[in-house]
């Protein structure tokens, strides 16, 4: 006799079952005929612990039936997923019929064999100087945007999606968009953007809004990445995946963990948060012998703008860098308010240089970092001591920092700068500093390029 022992949070504990597999999909049928989907989190003797994606609201201990599906959650795929909009659990939201599947894929995927990976070193020009010049994005990279509430991460992500291009390459592109618990307006902003540029034809959207069930969000990025893997490695397309907002995802995980009464890790998030996020983020990349790639741009909001909060912290430990938005820049009215110093692209050094961008790129970038960092230090000194107390060189650094923010960081939402424009701009700014200060750039390079700016 199957009976429900307990309903707690998003979890249902049933007893009296047999042959139930760990991690399998289950349908929970209510007396009204409503069907919800769930996933088996644990099996023990004749008991199974089920996480219900749509939540347990309205469920009664009695009168539930369970249909165990004998397999995990799957995504039906075919070329026809392009241009479609799905719910956070993969049900069509656009009124069109379900996709006629070419095959069905387990949404958990399998780990890419590290030996099979191809190193992501194809420079993607996003047209944004702070990214291209300083924290370069590569095809197949996972590069999150760390944002704060009210900061324009959506506009930046949309700008990247609009402008991203790879030099001298004419290949098949696709965008996969995963919305996790964001507002209707935010989601519409992206959709409208994809429509405007025509990208919608080559997009697959999975939408879980703030008003949708929270636990469903645990499945949504897996669906999005499964679609991306299919497009990238079966159809060999270059896929840009935008997932927003990972903070909501982590909160759903925390909710499940709390309901399971697991020993909580930092700030109540489960100890396996790192590993769980890694199984998502590591699905980005390139594979030897395949033309496609998955470039992953997850967006998360840092609670309290705190970079050491477990969500940004563990994300930074997994991804290949991060783009951090700064509230100070935003307050100065600078768009995009990307703070270059704590931002990082770990793949930059292999993606730039002669033959890729330009031979002076690395030196220039390193010098801009060092000089802007010094300029900011000087700016702090000025607060205490006043500008008069500065040495001549430090005054120049101060001026540099101001100009750098105004000319290099700032650009308009429709401005698509080539890498050459970005580098030219950089040289013109470096001219502010005495030549002896340019220690990060080799002499030959200064001789060759300094007049460019």
């Amino acid at each position: 006799m199957v009976k429900v022992n307990e309903i707690a949070g998003p979890l249902v504990l049933v007893q009296g079952v047999s042959g139930v597999a760990f991690d399998e999909l289950v349908e929970v049928v209510l007396p009204t005929g409503e069907v919800r989907s769930g996933k088996v989190l644990e099996v023990s003797d004749d008991k199974a612990l089920i996480q219900v994606f749509e939540g347990t609201e309205g469920l009664e201990i009695k009168n539930l039936t369970f249909r165990f599906k004998g397999k995990g959650l799957e995504l039906p795929v075919s070329r026809d997923i392009l241009g479609r909009i799905f719910s956070g659990l993969g049900r069509p939201l656009d009124g069109a019929p379900p996709v006629l599947p070419e095959k069905k894929l387990d949404v958990n995927g399998s780990p890419i064999n590290p030996f099979a990976r191809d190193y992501p070193d194809d420079f993607i020009q996003t047209g944004i100087s702070t990214i291209d010049g300083l924290n370069t994005l590569s095809r197949g990279q996972k590069l999150p945007i760390f944002s704060g509430s009210g900061l324009p991460h959506s506009r930046i992500a949309a700008q990247i999606a609009r402008q991203a291009s790879v030099k001298n390459k004419d290949e098949k592109f696709a965008v996969v968009f995963g919305a996790l618990g964001i507002t209707y307006e935010e989601s519409e902003f992206f959709i409208a953007n994809f429509r405007k540029t025509g990208a919608i034809e080559n997009s697959v959207l999975f939408i879980n809004l703030a008003s949708d069930p929270a636990i469903e969000r645990i499945a949504t990025p897996r669906l999005a990445l499964t679609a991306a893997e299919y497009l990238a490695f079966d159809l060999e397309m270059h896929v840009l995946v935008i997932i927003t907002d990972m903070t909501n995802y982590c909160e759903s995980l925390r909710e499940v963990s709390a309901a399971r009464r697991e020993v909580p890790g930092r700030r109540g998030y489960p100890g396996y948060l790192y590993t769980d996020m890694a199984t998502l983020y590591e699905r980005a990349g390139r594979i030897k012998g395949k033309n496609g790639s998955i470039t992953l741009l997850p967006i998360l909001t840092m609670p309290d703008d705190d970079k050491t909060h477990p969500i940004p912290d563990l994300t930074g430990y997994i991804t290949e860098g991060q783009i951090i938005l700064g509230r100070d820049l935003e307050r100065k009215g600078i768009y995009p308010p990307i703070d270059p110093l704590p931002s990082l692209s770990r793949l930059r050094d292999k993606a730039i240089g002669s033959g890729r961008t330009r031979e002076d790129h690395a030196g220039v970038a390193n010098q801009l970092f060092a000089a802007y960092a010094r300029g900011r230090e000087v700016r702090e000194l000025v607060v205490i001591l006043g500008e008069a107390a500065l040495s001549e060189v430090d005054k120049k650094y101060l001026h540099f920092a101001d100009e750098f923010e105004d000319k290099f960081i700032r650009q308009s939402e429709s401005e698509n700068r080539t890498i050459e424009t970005t580098l030219k701009l950089a040289w013109s700014l470096l001219k502010i500093l005495p030549r002896e200060e340019l220690k990060r750039i080799k002499d030959e390079i200064i001789d060759k390029y300094a007049d460019q700016g």
Binding site: A21, E24, P111, R117, T308, P310, L347
Partner: protein
């Protein structure tokens, strides 16, 4: 028979199993290890994803512990945490790692040329060398008498053999080149000696300021993006060890790809041979099963000790030990053990100590007499960069070198972002004797002086921040000037510049000597009334700034120029 499945933990009814036994779990025959026994109930950590396992599914014990295979064929290979060869896995199964697929770690068909060293009639015991196989141009693989075998050599062959074929008979027992050794068992040295020879890494801040010795244990903690992996890669590339074992433990797939792509192209500075010819990779990335991540450091250590026993200087890099500790925590949580600090099990400290204690050098077991060492360098990834957390704290108790990576430095792109005020090496004194003897008699003195200037700089900056540069004396301004040069022209080292990425000890010493000469000359000049402003403007600074890219001869030539320029300053003053 399975009773319970909770993530990577399976509880099964298993009557005939011992602790640490390797088991096959479920119809998919997933690989697992018994980690706890209670009555007939066994707790098993499963090294593969457990989705689909059911209560009632079969569990079968192999009766043997989880082991590594040791023998020719390891160099240049890439294994997962339980030594499955990832290259062969790809050949069989494609780009994604499947479940339930077991492939022999070492080739059973490849023939290796075995050259005997011992002779028929010799009395041998464990660890004695029977013969060698030239595995790569850099590594001669010594075939040693395996544990548990001793006596007279009755037969000893020469020629091409697979690792399973008999190459010798000792006391009636056949010996092949393939040995199996339990992953968690430690191989002991004959006699451990104190650390006295540096592991030269070519990284200036490391070798000169905070050196590590062969056989030593060191850690690199730091927040994300501070440069742990880059410095570990630098060590793996340039340090003067004979064998490199690199364990990518719960980190990024692309970082392993990076090694696989670069190492075959980079040349060992000593021999000119591709670095891959001395390197073994263990890759259990963050998205691979967590239990195998726990095993990966032991797999690495077992392989490293095996080569040490041959008489090699082996360096083991583990990036990151925090991910390993998290795997421990995960299993402990599933076992419902009493959690200690931050949820880590109470035995976290002793596990970490056991691991770092495997470092050491000295006389190996067996004949002929030979010395070997194992150096262990682990990175630590503290949440939020907070060094007070348990993994860092427990590591600091056992590691003798601490290279603390600093976020502020990393944000300024000062690399390696090793904080010179916090970091330390407990080997510095011992190794100082070596440096003084082999590099230059003033090596330790220069090091002390550099550290002192850097510490003074920190204090002075504090003052300048409050009251301005004008308020400190010219002498103090000179300290700031020289310390800046130390930071920018000596400590700063780019991992991506073909010249700068490796600095010989001689070159390190010359740059440091030049900068400290500058200090001495500056002090003297100030005493003679020269203005600090004129010292700041000397032309030779440009040469010092370029020293990182210069040859030793070019750096040597800076000295006289420096003296000249100061003479001019002084005579300008007098005249």
């Amino acid at each position: 028979m399975i009773k319970k499945v909770a993530g990577p933990l399976v509880i099964a009814e298993l009557t005939e199993a011992k602790k640490a036994d390797l088991v096959f779990v479920g119809k998919q025959r997933l690989i697992g290890e018994v980690i706890e026994l209670r009555g007939s109930s066994a707790s098993i950590q499963v090294y593969e994803e457990t989705a689909g396992l059911k209560v009632g599914d079969p569990v079968e014990s192999t009766g043997a512990p989880l082991s590594v295979e040791l023998g020719p064929g390891m160099i240049g290979a890439i294994f997962d945490g339980i030594q499955r060869p990832l290259d062969k896995l790809m050949l069989q199964a494609g780009a994604f790692i499947p479940r339930g697929l077991y492939v022999d770690p070492l080739s059973r068909t490849k023939k290796w040329p075995f050259v005997p060293l011992a002779a028929i009639g010799d009395e041998v015991k464990e660890g004695d060398i029977l013969g060698t196989v030239q595995e790569t141009a850099l590594v001669s693989h010594k075939i040693m008498v395996p544990p548990g075998i001793s006596g007279k050599i009755e037969k000893l062959d020469s020629g091409d053999f697979t690792i399973e074929e008999t190459i010798a008979v000792v006391s009636g027992r056949p010996v092949a080149m393939l040995q199996k050794s339990p992953v968690r068992r430690r191989r002991r040295l004959g006699k451990k000696e104190p650390v006295s020879v540096p592991l030269v890494t070519g990284q200036r801040v490391v070798d000169t300021l905070f050196p590590i010795g062969k056989g030593g244990a060191a850690c690199v903690p730091g927040p994300f993006g501070a440069g742990k992996t880059v410095i570990q890669h630098q060590f793996a590339k340039w340090s003067d060890a004979d064998i490199i074992v690199y364990v990518g433990c719960g980190e990024r797939g692309n970082e392993m790809t990076d090694v696989l792509k670069e190492f075959p192209e980079l040349k060992d500075p000593k021999s000119g041979r591709p670095l891959m010819e001395r390197t073994i990779l263990i890759a259990n990335t963050s998205n691979m099963p967590i239990a195998a991540r726990e095993a990966s450091v032991y797999t690495g250590a077992a392989i490293a000790e095996y080569f040490r026993d041959m008489g090699y200087h082996v360096a083991l890099f583990a990036d990151s030990t925090s991910r390993w500790a998290e795997a421990l925590r995960e299993m402990s949580g599933r076992l419902e053990e009493m959690p200690g600090e931050e949820g880590y099990p109470a035995y976290l400290g002793s596990r970490l100590a056991d691991f770092y204690e495997r470092a050491g050098g000295g006389r190996c077991q067996g004949k002929p007499e030979r010395d070997g060492s194992l150096t262990i360098i682990g990175s630590v990834s503290p949440p939020g960069g907070d060094l007070s957390e348990p993994v860092v704290q427990n590591t600091l108790r056992v590691a003798k070198v601490f290279w603390g990576l600093d976020e502020t430095l990393a944000h300024k792109r000062h690399f390696p972002a090793i904080n010179w005020l916090l970091s330390y090496s407990l080997y510095a004194d011992n190794l100082g004797r070596y440096f003084n003897e082999k590099v230059s008699e003033n090596f330790s003195r220069l090091r002390q002086q550099a550290l002192k200037l850097l510490a003074q700089e920190a204090d002075l900056e504090e003052i300048v921040r409050l009251v301005g540069l004008e308020s400190i004396s010219p002498k103090e301004q000179l300290v700031l000037f020289v310390a800046k040069s130390l930071r920018e022209d000596f400590l700063y080292q780019s991992a991506f510049d073909p010249v700068d990425q490796y600095s010989s000890l001689g070159k390190q010493h010359l740059i440091l000597q030049t900068i400290l000469d500058l200090y001495q000359l500056g002090e003297k000049a100030l005493g003679l009334g020269v203005e600090i402003e004129s010292i700041r403007k000397i032309g030779v600074m440009e040469k010092i700034a370029r020293a990182r890219f210069s040859t030793e001869a070019e750096i040597l030539a800076i000295g006289p120029l420096l003296t000249d320029e100061f003479n001019n300053l002084r005579s300008g003053k007098n005249g």
